[in-house]
Structure formats: structure tokens, C-alpha cells
Symmetry: C2
Subunit: 381 residues, 2 copies
């Protein structure tokens, strides 16, 4: 049995979602854009999924667009929202690479990119962020939950402050690590654009969602049959979308139970780790219960990760989506001291984790860290 | 039991593919970009899928890119291939809306769009197409198999002629209705870019493929974690991709049997229809065995389609992907006489169809067409 603690990277598909995927793969496989009554039923099922998701997130069905995933949602938000040819874009230093690299692309097209600082625990430095917003700011991007430390930003407050400085600035929050993991009501948050992905909450890979507030104009990146009101052409991955509605529903139902469990899991791990020195929890306040980022002094996170695999334990090192890049922007942004900076691991929980698994993780973490430090000491002598 | 004859719109997922989808949803669900050994195994499985697909299509693994579907593949091809800021683009009048509308988008950005005529059976008018290619042609788009009539264009010959007029022109063929349905060796065809989609060949919706010939430069439309060598960032829909490799393999294995069956199915339908007047087969030569486009005089295709549903028979009217538009570009392009133009239905076969089903379709077609004509006659009196 695998003890999987990398649920920020991706998750196991829920059995209820799987039943939906299978149903739309071999029974209701009809193309929702075709003319038969069977196709119309499928199109109707899509409409119901859209309404259910909107309802769960406090918005209208007409504001929900389905995409191929978080990255595409983020890109449509960043690249599709601009209405003027110039201006500046304010973005936090810890945005997911899908947002950060899309913004960088705009930099190469003549927009001025202003990168706001991050606090040492991974929260956005709100003061610095707001100081960068001015009358020429066309887009402001501030993620909801950091995929690296779990830091939860006060999206409602940041949004209100940005809008009060410049009410024409389009505001976007990446909610990929928020939806289904902390309470999310997009209307309450007030942002113009909000994105999330299915595979982070026990839905299928290959499906994402973008909220576009009524009245906010957005352009598409691809063109074709006019699906998703023209914003995202292409035959819909129907099972994936209807499965996403189920995944959101299941996640919201379980939110309280998960939160209590995960808070307890963190406590158990802290108690375990109290037995050793030289570690820190990278974000302790205003943090997602689902994410625990730890740094170990004089230990390489990646070596630790592979050692834990010997016990069938999987943890993460940072964002899976930027693992091709050598160093995390986050580690730089939060200014981790050098002896801690290579020893980062990210533990992220799901409903499939048990207390016994967490205790095993705690025990093996101590064992492996001690062992690695002994080996290093041996090498030094 | 449903008798499904709209396999150009989409297909039922094959059971072998479904097993793969399920396996990667609940067992090997790891993110291929994460650092664990389990993730590396998944990344390796993706590499094997890429090699298998490349091998089946006569190209190299490094030339195969996975996307979210045919529409995205077409859009990357059209919007990502251009290296100069101006010039003309030659496109056939019958391209799929994903190609046609992406090209139209370029028209709004200052490129000159030249639309080549179509012959009356839906083939590209090659002479007209080539006459439009000149030293300023930056992109030429000629689809492989028409999704409306099934007309198979001589892609190899068109490509060679375009290149001999201007060897800098990037050539692109949309192979969505070709791969798995007729023999396809992309290297033999010689084009720079070639696209196809999984859900047309019993794979999952939400997955597509783009071939980019070695040495051809192409830009991405989305930015992020750098997956697919940076061309298509975003967590891969792993099961869908590996399922696509299986779908291509299964389709190629069955190509000869399918072709013989489908050729026979067409003959059976023609024999049935010999009993009534006032119909035509829109494309009879150089046509995909999988597609039979029929026009019935003084009959509305959509009404016919819904009548056939009473017998649990599903056929198509035209491209599902452009069904939101009122009239098919194809019907206009091939110049169907007005009394035929509204009576188009598209029958498209798959391996799940049986001879008995085809005979049933033939019988019910005659019955419904006769009935509709009687009703119309009654209305006129």
C-alpha cells in the first residue's frame, strides 16, 4: 500500500467520479454539439454540472467556463483579459508557473511587469503588492493558496484594495489549491477571474474551470466550433466536466471533516518532529490545512523524498508543475536561509490519508533525517 | 440498443482504452512532473505512448506533442507556426471550423486569407488551391479527410506542389478524420504539421495530438510548467494520452477489416436506397470508407435524423463541431442544388456497427424519406 502525501501535485480519482467518467465514456458518449436527442441530453447534463458548480461557489452558471485544466484557465485569464495595448501588470512573486510564465509572455509584448514581494512564510506582501498598483495597472494576479507553503492570502481584502486604487484593473486569483480545500465563495471574494483544476480534488486530469465575472470581457486563445460560448472551442471532455461537478460537491461536503483531520495530522507530525532539531514549518498562520511545508537543515529534500519511498511514502518537494526548473521561485522569494533552502519537502493531505499513515510518516521522517545527517557527518569526517 | 452511425462526431471509448483510463485514474494517478519514483514511472509510460504513436504514424517520438484535443492541435498549428508578421495564408473552403476560425483570426491580424474552392464532392480543388500559393504564402492548410463528405485529399501531392512553389510555406493537414480510419504515414505525406484527436477513434475526449516535423519552429499558445517541451504546459491527462496510444494501435490493427466491412455497408445502403428516387451520395470517389454523406431531395436532414431516432438510430447532419452555425460551409462550398441542400445526412461507421444494424438503417431510411415526402405532399395539397 502506498502512503500518498503529495495531493497538491495531483490526487487519486474518487470512485464516484470514476463511475461518471466511465458512464460518459461508454454509455452517454455522445457529442453534446451533435443534433440527436441523445446529444441534447448530454448537453443538458453539462448545463446541470455548470449550474451545480456555480451554485457551490456562489456564482452564476453563465460565469463558469470549462477548460482543459488549471494551466489553460490561468492562461486564458492572463492573456485573454487585457483590453488595452499597454500598461502594467502586478503579480505576486509566488504565483504558479502557469500564471507567472503567462505574465512573462506579456512582458515580452510590451507590458510592464511588476513583481510583488512575498513574506517569509509565503504570503503575499500585501503592502508591497498594493504599492505597485496604479492608474496604469491593467491586471493584478494574486493567488489564493500557495501551492508551495499553503499560505492563504486574503483575496477579498486584496481585491477590494486593488479596486479602490483602480477600479478598471482586472483582478485574477488562481484558486487551484483553494477550491475543495478551504471554503471558497467566489462572489464573496469579489475577483473578476478565478481558476481551478479538477485533478487536485479527486477529479480527472484534463479538466479545469475559469470563472469570469458577468460583464468582464475576455478573449479566447483557441478558435473553432464555438463551445463554451466561444471562449474555449473544442469537443467538451464531458465525463471530466460532469465528474468535476461531482468532485466539487464531494469536496465541499467533506470540507469540515477534512479540515479537522488535517489540522490534527499537522499536530501529530509536529509532535513527532519535536524529537529532532533543525527543522521549521514554512507557514504556520493563515495556512491551508491540506498543506504542510517543512524545511530540514542540512538535508537535501530530494534525497529525503527518495528515502521515504523505501517505506512506500510519497511526499513532494515543491510545485510538481515547475519541477523541471531547478530552484523553486518560492524558496528564493521567501528568503530561506541557505542551510534550509535545499531541505524543503511538501506534505499535502487528502481524504484518503489516515492517522496511522501520518504517524508512520512522522516516524520515518525522523529516522530518515537523522540517518541523512549522520551520513553527511560521516562524509565530513 | 442504440444503433450509432455518427462516429465522425465522436465514438464510444473502447474497453481496452477504458481499462487504461481507469488504471491511471485510481492506481497510477501520479503527476508525471513530480519527483517520486512513481511519478517517473508514469513519465516513462508517457514516453512509451509517444514512441508507439510515432512508430504507428511513421515519424519520431520527438515530433509528437500531446494536447487537449483536435481543436487545440489545429489552433497551435495555425496560430503557432507563423514566423513572419505578414503574408498570405491559403486554406481550403472545407476546413474544420477549428482550422477555419483560427485562420480567420489571423485575417484580423493583418494576414491575407485566400480561400481555395472545393469540388462538388467535397474534395479540395487542387488547381485553385495551388494557384493561390505564391512567394508570400506563409501557411497552407489542406485537410486530409473531409469530416462532412469523407472526401480524401491527396495530401502528399498537394504538399509536394505547395513546397515546389514555395519551400518556405509551412504546410498543415488536419488528420482528425484520417488517423485510424484510412492508412496514415505522416512522413510519407510530407507535411510540416498534422493533427488528430483521440475521441474520434474510441479514445477519451480531452486528448489530441500534434505532429511537428523536426526543424519546424512552432510557438505555444499557453505558458506554464513547460510540459511537452514547453509547447503545451499543464499537467498531462496521462490516462487519456496512454489510452490514445492504445486507440491508435487498435485502430491500425483493425483497419483492413473495418475498411472491408464499411465498403460493404455502403454497398448495402446503396442497394436499399435503389428503391427510391431523389437522393445522391455526395462523395463517391477517393472517399473514406467510414463516411457516407447522403442528400435527399425535398427532405429536411434534421427532421429525418429525429425520425430515425424513433428506431434508436443515430446519424449526423454535418460537422458536430459547427452545428451551432446554421448552414454548413461545405453545403455552400460544394454547391448543392437547393432542393438537396437541406436534406443532407452523414452516416459514419465504427467497428461496433453490424451488418444487421446497417440493413435496419437502410430500411428505416427508405421508410422515413417516403413518409416525409408524403407528408410534405399532403401539406401542399
Amino acid at each position: 500500500m502506498i502512503h500518498y502525501f503529495d495531493n497538491c501535485a495531483t490526487t487519486r480519482v474518487d470512485d464516484d467520479v470514476l463511475r461518471i467518467l466511465n458512464d460518459y465514456a461508454v454509455e452517454k458518449y455522445y457529442n453534446p454539439s451533435a443534433r440527436s436527442t441523445f446529444s441534447m441530453h448530454v448537453a443538458n447534463d453539462l448545463a446541470v454540472a455548470r449550474e451545480n458548480i456555480a451554485d457551490k461557489l456562489g456564482v452564476s452558471a453563465g460565469e463558469i467556463y470549462f477548460t482543459s485544466g488549471g494551466t489553460e484557465s490561468d492562461n486564458i485569464a492572463v492573456l485573454g483579459a487585457l483590453r488595452s495595448k499597454r500598461g502594467n501588470i502586478v503579480v505576486s512573486a509566488i504565483e504558479h508557473s502557469a500564471v507567472f510564465n503567462a505574465v512573462k509572455e506579456l512582458g515580452s509584448k510590451g507590458y510592464e511587469i511588476r513583481i510583488a514581494n512575498t513574506l517569509t512564510d509565503g504570503h503575499i506582501d500585501v503592502e508591497d503588492f498594493l504599492s505597485k498598483v496604479d492608474e496604469y495597472t491593467v491586471l493584478a494576479c494574486f493567488m489564493h493558496v500557495s501551492n508551495e507553503t499553503g499560505a492563504v492570502n486574503d483575496v477579498k481584502s486584496i481585491n477590494a484594495s486593488v479596486k479602490s486604487k483602480n477600479n478598471k484593473t482586472v483582478t485574477f486569483s488562481d484558486g487551484v489549491q483553494a477550491v475543495g480545500k478551504i471554503p471558497v465563495n467566489i462572489r464573496y471574494l469579489g475577483v473578476d477571474l478565478y481558476s481551478f483544476a479538477s485533478h487536485k480534488i479527486h477529479g480527472s486530469k484534463g479538466v479545469g474551470c475559469l470563472f469570469v465575472k458577468n460583464g468582464v470581457k475576455i478573449s479566447s486563445l483557441v478558435f473553432g466550433g464555438g463551445q463554451e460560448k466561444g471562449l474555449r472551442s473544442g469537443t467538451e471532455y464531458v465525463g471530466g466536466i460532469i465528474g468535476l461537478a461531482k468532485a466539487v460537491e464531494l469536496a465541499q461536503k467533506r470540507l469540515e471533516v477534512n479540515t479537522a483531520d488535517f489540522v490534527n495530522y499537522k499536530k501529530v507530525l509536529r509532535d513527532c518532529l519535536a524529537g529532532i532539531d533543525g527543522w521549521r514549518e514554512n507557514c504556520k498562520n493563515d495556512v491551508s490545512p491540506a498543506i504542510m511545508s517543512l524545511s530540514f537543515q542540512n538535508v537535501k529534500g530530494e534525497v529525503l523524498l527518495h528515502m521515504l519511498e523505501n517505506y512506500d511514502i510519497i511526499v513532494g518537494t515543491g510545485s510538481a508543475c515547475s519541477s523541471k526548473n531547478k530552484q523553486s521561485r518560492l524558496v528564493k522569494a521567501i528568503g530561506l536561509e541557505s542551510e534550509f533552502s535545499e531541505g524543503v519537502i511538501r506534505i499535502s493531505f487528502s481524504k484518503y490519508n489516515t492517522l496511522d499513515e501520518v504517524k508512520l510518516l512522522g516516524d520515518k521522517l525522523i529516522y530518515c533525517v537523522n540517518d541523512l545527517r549522520k551520513t553527511m557527518l560521516g562524509q565530513k569526517i
